[in-house]
Every structure is written in C-alpha cells, then in structure tokens.
Symmetry: C2
Subunit: 360 residues, 2 copies
C-alpha cells in the first residue's frame, strides 16, 4: 500500500505572524479531529504535526525567514477527494490569513511513495522526474543487471537497466544519433555493435543494406525481454540471432574485441551502445574509467583507417564527466579526432551528448 | 530560506518487525540528539517524529502493509554533508535490519521547497518535473499575465507564462512543428501569426521570404522580455515592430480578426500560437471552449481556400482534451479537415500534439 505525499508551500514577503496564522488553521484541524503536537525546535521556527483518521498526517512549519510549508500524507486507499479537499481548505484559509504577504504559493503534484509501479526515474544529472508509467511489463534480474521494461502512455515501452532509462519505443532520435544522424552510407559496409541488446540500432542498420553487422551483447535476458516488449524499436530483428546480413553474439565484448585485434579483423563502423558503466564477465581493470579506456582502445584498434566510431556520451549537463571522457580520447594508443552533438532523446528528459571518433 | 526535503522509502516483501526495526534505529537518533515523539495512529501503523538541531525533522512511518518511509527535512543553510550522512546512516542501518525482506529501496533527489529559484514546473498532464533552472532572468506581471524567463543549463532561457512552459531557446522543434515541419513553401505568401510574442515563429518565417507576415500579440511585455532574453529563439526580429516583410501589431487578436473578416482580407497561412487559455481584453464568450471556438472560426474565415491553419494542441497524454478540440473542428461555420502530429519539444518533458487544419 503506497503513501501519497502532498506539499503546499507559501513564500512570504515578511515573516508570518505565527500565532495568528497557526490559530487561524486550528479550526480546520479540529474539524478533521486531528491530534496536534507542537514540537520544540529550539528556536528554528514553528513546527507542529497533526494526526488524523486513516493514518493521515499533516506537518505545518513556519520558519523565521518567511516560508510556510505544509506536508500532507495519506495512505493510497484513503478517500483522495476528502484529502485533497482538506488541502484545498488549508490553502484557501492560508491565502486569506496571509493576504498581502504572499510572494508565491507552490503546490506540487503529489508524490506517490512505495507504489507497485514506480514512476520516478531521476535524470543522469540528478533531477527528480515523474514518468507517465502505468504498468510494469517485464522485471527480471539477469546474471548481470536488473532489467525492467515499463509502459509509458506517451513513449510506449521503456527499457530501464539498473535504474537507468536506456531506450523507449519513441526514441528513434537516440538510434539515429548513435548511427551518425543519417549522414553515413552503410551500404556494403562492415559494422560492429557493442551492446545494443534492445535491438534498436540493429533494426535500423539492417535496413541500410550493410555487408555484415556483428552485434556483441552480453545479456541474453535483455535480448529476450526486448524481442517481446520493445518491438517498435527492434521490429523482428531479434527473432533470430542470425540474419542475411547480421549475427548476434551473446558474449562479453572484451574478449571478442581482443580476438578481432589478434586476427586483424576490422570494421567500417563501430557503434558502442554499452551501458554507461559497461558490464563484463571479467573486468581486468580497476576503475570504471580504466575499463572504458580498454574498450575504447580496442574499438579504435578494430576500426579501419577511414572508419568511424560512434557512441553516446552523457547528459549535456554533466560537463565534468564529458570533459574526462574527452581527455581519455586524447590518451588512446592510436591518435583520434572527435566531434560531438547534443541530441534530444524523447524519454530521457535531458539533452544527451553523442560522439563521433575517427583515426587521425 | 528554503527547506530541503529528502525521502527514503523501503518496500518490503512482508510487514516489518516494527519494534525491532524502530529499536534498531534509535541509537542513530540518540547520537543526533533528536527528540522522539511516537504518535498514536489508531492502528494505522507506526509513526514517529524526531526533532534535531538546526530545525532538522525526521518522520518515520512503518505501515502494516510492508512500506517503511522516512522523510528528512532540513533548512537550506544546514550542513548538507551532515544531513546526507544521517540519511546514509539510516539507509545502511535499515538495509541491514530489513535484510532479506527488501523488495525496493527508493531515495529520490531531494525536493527544494520555497527556494528563490523555482525548479519545479509540472507538465500539462500533471507530472512532477524538476528543471535544471539556475536563475531567474526576468519576472514581471503584465496587465495580462505573469511573465517569467528562467535560465536552464541545458535549454538556455525558458519563457514561462502564468506557470506554463511556453518556449525555450532550444525549442526549434516547436517552431518547426507549428510552421508545418518544413513541408510548406512560404515564399511570396501572406502569413498571420496569432500570439507568438516570443518571436520564435516570426524569426523563422522571415527567413522563408514571405510576401508579408502580420503578427498580433497582445502583450508588449512578453515582446520586451523575449527581445532581450530569448535571442536564440527570436534573433533580432523583435528589435523593430516593422520589417521589410513583417509587421507586429500589439493588439488583442479578436477585434483584428473581425476587422479582417469584414474587409475580406485573407491569408495563405494562419499560425495560432496563443497560450493554451488565450488572453483577450474583452472576452465575449462564457467559457474557454467558446472563446477558443470564436478564434478558430474567425481564423478559418480569414484563410484562403488553399490556405493552412497551424496550431499547437496539447500534451499527447491529454486525450480527452484533444478529442474535445477535434470535436470543435467539426462544428465550425466552414467545414474543415485536419491532420495532427506528435512532436518532442525539448523543454516540455512531454510529447505535444500539433494540428494542421484546412478548408474542405
């Protein structure tokens, strides 16, 4: 049983006349038969809690600096109309009590806490975002990660790996960005996809008549979940691990890349679609950065001199992380140049940076 | 002075052993010298509040249904590292106390309440969204509305009218969508823009060499604010109210439209960029819908037989509102057909529907 949590905040021009304000609200709490407790804050403003029927809780704070906050918690099964009426009554009363002293009234959409369907998936830059998710389609732990596929009213199904939004069925702009924004000629080319278990890139790439696409995805369960539930992204391409112009290797990409380097096998395009913190069966390196560096170095080694390496970077707001990545690009065994582009991926709720890297 | 509000929620497989759990946390609160109050919830689970130094408040709830919630409030000026350490300590302790019984742990980014810079601008479909807004650039009340221009790290400046996100400097997709997605030939055409005070449409339209653009915006202060602070959207087009191929009338569009109808003046393109609930100096109609209907009817009357009427609709999730609008299109004095497209406008945090309407 979830908890609904309402907030209602008043910014005031001058500190409130606290006794008058508190007294003015008392009849409302009495009518609700709520039990009041006034707490000693040792001089840090007025703070009272009110407990009502059905486990309802109101917290009233008035700071010395002109902020009045109300929290109202109720159980999900409570009478929502009654609860929202209580909040309306408090808001109206406060608007009249504080009349002439109000700078801003802010009432946010209620937080739903502990619900079976979790709608809150913060952005990479740490902002609180509520999605229009209405059901869980798939939720499994593989040997490597937690795999969720959730349904959004506007975006269709969304793949969420270890809590990170990876791709929705409306995110063709992601796939286009990581394939070179329609500027590349894939016809007759050899393509290597690292990760990409949702099948989005593979599905778009096969349309472009390449010679051969090799996709190396470590997690069979991602492939299985997406084949069934992300068909607007992957179409039928994951129905078979082999097609006329593609093969899917369900393997850790690091040993595969090493083998290719040994064999001297090269590609026209390498598309790194691994998760932000890539997963490996046997990470040999100490830190995430060193591991990223290893994959990057191996990827450039299997790139033809005229080839291009595409990858997603990070949130456009994470400028320090992006700068670190760009530093890394300067430290590869083979010198490279790069360009970047900022792209709006619909389900990300933040702008995202994509990189193109090529050999100097 | 703002309040920071942290939440930490545990979903449990089975109801918690409440006395053990509560007892297990007590040493943490004692160490913080917090004063405990256990509240009587009349059988609706365990509920205790803890008041600490600097006005810190912790609320601990344990429901009978396997949900444990913690709220932690502190003042903005408090030692954030200390506060977050307290929350870390509580989380670690609870992970160990509830070991084997945890289905999900959810810790959201802290809510900042009552801050000078308000980062929370809910979507049209009522979801809680935090923006990366770091400063207020412009905040004025005109005769018609509150006009805010706020700076977002990723989107540039954002125009917010009466609390609705209207346009950011990264929202060229909005402007392209409401101009026909690059499919139209504006060269030599006559164009009427209703609203559009941010100048985004006007700036794009003048590039396309139309014969004449007339823009009718009611609010001079929107024009003034955007001319200065939304230049990535409007360029220099608002520096003068008249240009080689355009004129801006700072007027209510309803009487202007009526005059055009009387005079028999017509346009190749009518672009309705009015706010969702349009503003008028003298609304003659009772309801918003009737007022919308009036503008729509007048707009179609000034449209040439081969002309097109473009407008933004609403959030793709507000299917009922969209259906009502489409019903309206069937009730105009002149029969019309329409098409619609769903577009991702970067700063909207929700997909948006745009309409094209033409005379049958």
């Amino acid at each position: 049983m979830a908890l609904r949590h309402y907030t209602l905040d008043f910014n005031l021009s001058a500190p409130a006349d606290c006794p008058t304000t508190v007294h003015g609200l008392q009849s409302i709490f009495q009518e609700q038969e709520m039990t009041e407790t006034v707490h000693d804050t040792e001089g840090h403003g007025y703070l009272a809690t009110f407990i009502g029927k059905n486990g309802r809780l109101v917290i009233l704070r008035v700071t010395a600096h002109g902020l009045l906050t109300i929290d109202l918690q109720c159980c999900e099964g409570d009478n929502i109309v009654q609860v929202e009426n209580l909040l309306n009554t408090l808001e109206e009363k406060l608007r009249s009590l504080l009349h002439g002293n109000i700078k801003r009234v802010k009432r946010l959409p209620a937080l739903t806490r502990g619900a079976a369907v979790d709608r809150y998936w913060p952005t990479a830059d740490g902002r609180l975002v509520e999605y229009d998710i209405d059901r869980v389609v798939y939720d499994e732990d593989s040997a490597y990660q937690n795999i969720k596929i959730m349904h959004s009213q506007q975006f269709g199904n969304i793949l969420i790996l270890n809590g990170d939004v990876n791709l929705s069925e409306s995110d063709l702009p992601y796939t286009q960005a990581i394939m070179g924004r329609g500027q590349e000629n894939y016809a007759g080319k050899e393509v290597l996809i690292l990760g990409g278990g949702d099948g989005g890139i593979l599905a778009e790439a096969v349309k472009l008549k390449p010679k051969m696409i090799t996709m190396v995805e470590i997690d069979q369960m991602v492939i299985d979940g997406c084949r069934t539930h992300m068909r607007k992204a992957c179409g039928s391409v994951l129905d078979n691990l082999k097609g006329e112009c593609y093969q899917v290797l369900v393997e850790d990409c690091v040993p595969v890349l090493k083998k290719y380097v040994e064999e001297g096998k090269t590609f026209d395009y390498v598309i790194n679609d691994l998760t932000a913190v890539p997963i490996s069966t046997a990470p040999e390196e100490d830190s995430t950065w060193e591991f990223l560096q290893l994959i990057l170095d191996l990827s450039i080694k299997v790139l033809r001199p005229t080839g291009k390496y595409f990858t997603q970077g990070n949130s456009a707001n994470l400028t320090e992380t992006l700068a670190l990545y760009e530093e890394q690009l300067g430290r590869l065994s083979c010198p490279v140049d790069f360009s970047k582009e900022v792209v709006c991926v619909p389900s990300y709720m933040e702008l995202w940076v994509f990189y193109t890297v090529w050999k100097k």
